[in-house]
Amino acid sequence: MNHRFEVMASPMTTTASQRVIRRLKALKAYATLIPIRLLPVEFLVSNARLIKLFSTTFDVGEVSVKRYRLSQKVVCGLMATVMIMPVLHADERLLPVRMDELVAAGFAGQQPAPLADDAEFLRRIWLDLAGRIPTSDDTRHFLDDTDPDKRSRMIEQLLAAPTYAQRMQELFHVVLMERRGDHEKWKQYLHNAFERNKPWDQMVREVLNPDPQDENRRGAAFFYAKRIEANGQNPIDHPGLTRDVGRLFLGADLQCAQCHDHLFIDDYKQRDFQGLYSVYLNLSAKNGPDIPAVTEKPMKKKLEFISVFDPTQNETGPRIPFGSEIPIPEQGKDAAPVSMLALLASELPTAQTALFRKNIANRLWFLMMGRGLVHPLDLHHSDNPPSHPELLDLLASEIVAHQYDIKWMLRQLALSQTYQRSSRYPIASANADSAAASMNVEQVRPQSYLLANEKRMMAEQLLHSTLRATGNFERLQQATVDGKPNAELTELTRRFVAAFANEPREPEDQINPSVKGALFSLNDDLVLQLLSRRSGNLIDRLLAMTSDELLADELYLSVFTRRPNNEERNELVAWLTKHNDRREKAIANWAWSMLTSMEFVVNH
């Protein structure tokens, strides 16, 4: 959907523009969504350029200029403040506002948490969009920035940074492969896709019908190839592949429908599984030395199946689950065989497949909000309805209207108050009050979004953040002379994944503390070595600080992405005084306790 905008551009003093901002803020929260920029006048030479500038910079869809009081003559040589005001029609308000309204409709009189403070917001948005925490300098700079629009600017900055593609590659790798293993070409494929902000439907088409000829796309075959590779004496797992295509791209786990209509989910029929399965039965892995690949045998006849409960013989041709059967094309003798994968790729990832558009909307919502509107993410059916059905419909139709633009959708989600809400209720001063407040908190359900849900940190996020916090990031990012990744980083990655990732095939959709992870954090030598002094790392920087107060600030900004409060500052100073004879060790132990505490290991 395109929003209409009124554009007002005039040379304006900073004071005047601040006044306008205040007035807009009074009109509720919309001001944070309205890009207000000081622009050099050369951008403002024509309507056309202005429009192009805004639609590409802010991605607001089509801008129609209502008022444009600007003559080249007037502004020549000046800076101009340009304001874009959304036209507030009932159905054309900005998406984040409408999301918030639909979420608020479910509060049922309960009080939502206030917006997160800047530090909480900053840590969260970095973890979500960059896959790691910011440096202490980044944090200091953001906290001290007085621009009222700094959150939107930070969102833009992170969406435009190279870290975005890396984060999305790591994330979608885990979502799509569920720790089955990785492949260099698959990595490249995902990275490239997110770097170019490839539309989701196009990505899914490329995954469902990988093209071995296309250098940029052939890595997509890994999704299939890894799932159907030979595994000892076990039969090739075509049913597992069929199941995963349903789970990951349609949000429907058809496993039980392999052998019979699902007993408890009326929507899931055996023919839905078998129709997709009929295509995949013809697929086999053909992995070359460096390239994942699959080959497809032509489909000649329908697949016969019976239910374990009913001996009636059934048959089906290819079928998109919950859709109608697709006739098997005539396979000409001389012509090239018709590819069923191509057929699947053209039929499944389309706006006509309701579950396809809802699935991606739900998964992106989950990534940002920590709880699916449909939950679990792969059990979308009429007996497990979304917590906010209207909201899911809205997101699904908006992402279609925006050509399945993942970056656009993440921006909308990040701009909402639902995303920017605090993960805790404010701490009441009186004890009695705080007891009452915490009673309340325990009853808050994750699907209410009254509080920002705490999110799991993937092993990769935890590793990058640990390296960032301990000041070892740059050192380890540098490749060795022969171009190979740093050996210590490779080993750390292996150990973090072993300690904090789920078992293969298990979705990583919730926080998952384990004894294994605890033992790792307590005793692993490589992790503990990150906290021994080394030129330029955290401990080194802290030891060079001129006062313990400054040291406390730097430590808390580096690890917790916030300044310490007075109580924390005093505690740390007292600790350092007490352990003055072993200062380096004392600092390292304090830092370790921060790094292993909940405030660090969870995305809150």
Partner: protein
């Protein structure tokens, strides 16, 4: 230590009545599950039918309980029969391995679209660690060890099993050499303080879960003697046997002694589709010797009243002997043996027909057994349910109940 607090806060399920929670906090019952992967032939063990069409070549021998006979392959166990209860009328639903393993281990509850926990994870959740604070669920198995989350189903990984691969300790068990034990105390004290601060104003679910796994990890670090096989006496080694199952059951005894709530010991390859009688002679003897020693030891150490011991498989084996002189999978009529806490001593419950093909009186499914065992452990299933993110779920099959004849 936070052990008790963690147990109180986390280990317990959602109770409809708070008084039940108080009672369970005092519950120190333990469980040993011996899982014979595949199926042990009931005809060559607990339910012999000598001199019948399908009876096979082995004799039935008298036991320490007058009137009760078992197969001669259980010659050591026969002397411990006065401690045991055998249910001979087990009738379950599944005869395939792929589905059978999970189905039996989960107690085959009504399907509600969620993955139920295995018995060990269920007990880890419902009762938590004992007052020892040791991890509630340890699994002694051949080959590789590690942390096995899959047993926990919807309960989540923290209720999974800590698996000791061939009895060896997990990675990172020993305190890192660069940290003194005094420093270790101090750094963990700080960590707890930071967590307490973090929890204010937030739902405590994840902070509790995090604290819980750290408490378990630290407890485990203090009990590294658990993994020292050299400290067993030669006499013990002789009594239990030096074969895999013998060594693992001996380790299970020590693990129970350290206060672990639930210990599972797995033995594999119980699948005699061919040459059943030679296979059974070998396999069942390997089970018989250490099992009898273990029951004797638990009794002598006055632990048997507190420890529920269960011996089970995926299914029984077909009475009909196939053309490879083997027995196939048979869920229709088989036996499960148990002993200890809350279980009657020296009884046989249920009966199969003369040929051993079907259950003659009331058949019992695994759901009945889960009810029976929860009751024997002092967990009243009618008063408890799981809370799966707001979805209430009964801990055992709603249509079943406990088997009174097996209970004290």
């Amino acid at each position: 230590m936070l052990g008790a607090a963690a147990a109180g806060g986390l280990g317990l399920g959602t109770f409809l009545q708070p008084c039940v929670a108080d009672e369970l906090a005092k519950n120190d019952k333990q469980v040993l599950l011996i899982w014979l992967d595949g199926g042990m032939s009931q005809l060559e063990s607990w339910d012999p039918k000598p001199n019948t069409e399908f009876g096979g070549p082995f004799r039935a021998i008298p036991t320490s309980v007058p009137g009760i006979h078992v197969c001669e392959l259980l010659k050591h166990t026969a002397k411990q029969m006065h401690h045991l209860a055998v249910l001979r009328s087990v009738c379950t639903q599944d005869n395939s391995h792929s589905a059978g393993v999970a189905r039996i281990n989960r107690g085959d509850p009504k399907n509600r679209g969620v993955e139920y926990p295995y018995l060990g994870s269920a007990v880890a959740k419902l009762l938590g660690p004992t007052s020892s604070g040791m991890p509630p669920y340890i699994w002694i198995k051949p080959n590789s060890g590690g942390f096995k989350a899959s047993d926990a189903g919807f309960l989540g990984a923290k209720y999974g099993a800590l698996a000791l691969g061939d009895g060896k300790p997990p990675e990172n068990l020993l305190l890192n050499k660069s940290i003194s034990s005094e420093e270790d105390e101090l750094r963990n004290e700080l960590r707890r303080k930071f967590n307490d601060r973090y929890a204010v104003g937030r739902r405590t679910e994840w902070t509790d879960a995090n604290s819980y796994v750290y408490e378990l990890a630290q407890k485990l670090m203090k009990r590294d003697d658990l993994f020292d096989e050299s400290s067993f006496t030669d006499k013990d080694r002789q009594r239990y046997g030096t074969h895999e199952l013998g060594r693992h059951l001996l380790l299970a005894r020590r693990t129970l002694e350290t206060g672990v709530r639930f210990v599972k010991v797995n033995s594999y390859h119980w699948d005699s589709h061919g040459d059943n009688f030679n296979a059974s002679e070998s396999l069942i003897s390997q089970f018989d010797q250490p099992f009898a020693a273990l029951i004797e030891d638990l009794h002598q150490r006055s632990m048997l009243d507190n420890v529920l011991v269960i011996v089970m498989s995926e299914f029984g084996r077909t009475p009909k002997i196939n053309s490879h002189v083997g027995r196939d999978h048979w869920p229709e009529a088989w036996s499960i043996a148990m002993a200890g806490a809350g279980i009657r001593k020296g009884v046989v419950v249920g009966k199969t027909n003369d040929q051993g093909t079907f259950v003659e009186d009331k058949p019992y499914d695994i759901g009945h057994l889960f009810h029976t065992w929860f009751k024997a452990m002092g967990v009243p299933p009618d008063k408890m349910e799981y809370d799966n993110q707001g979805q209430p779920l009964p801990v055992a099959h709603d249509d079943c109940g406990p088997i009174a004849e097996l209970l004290v």
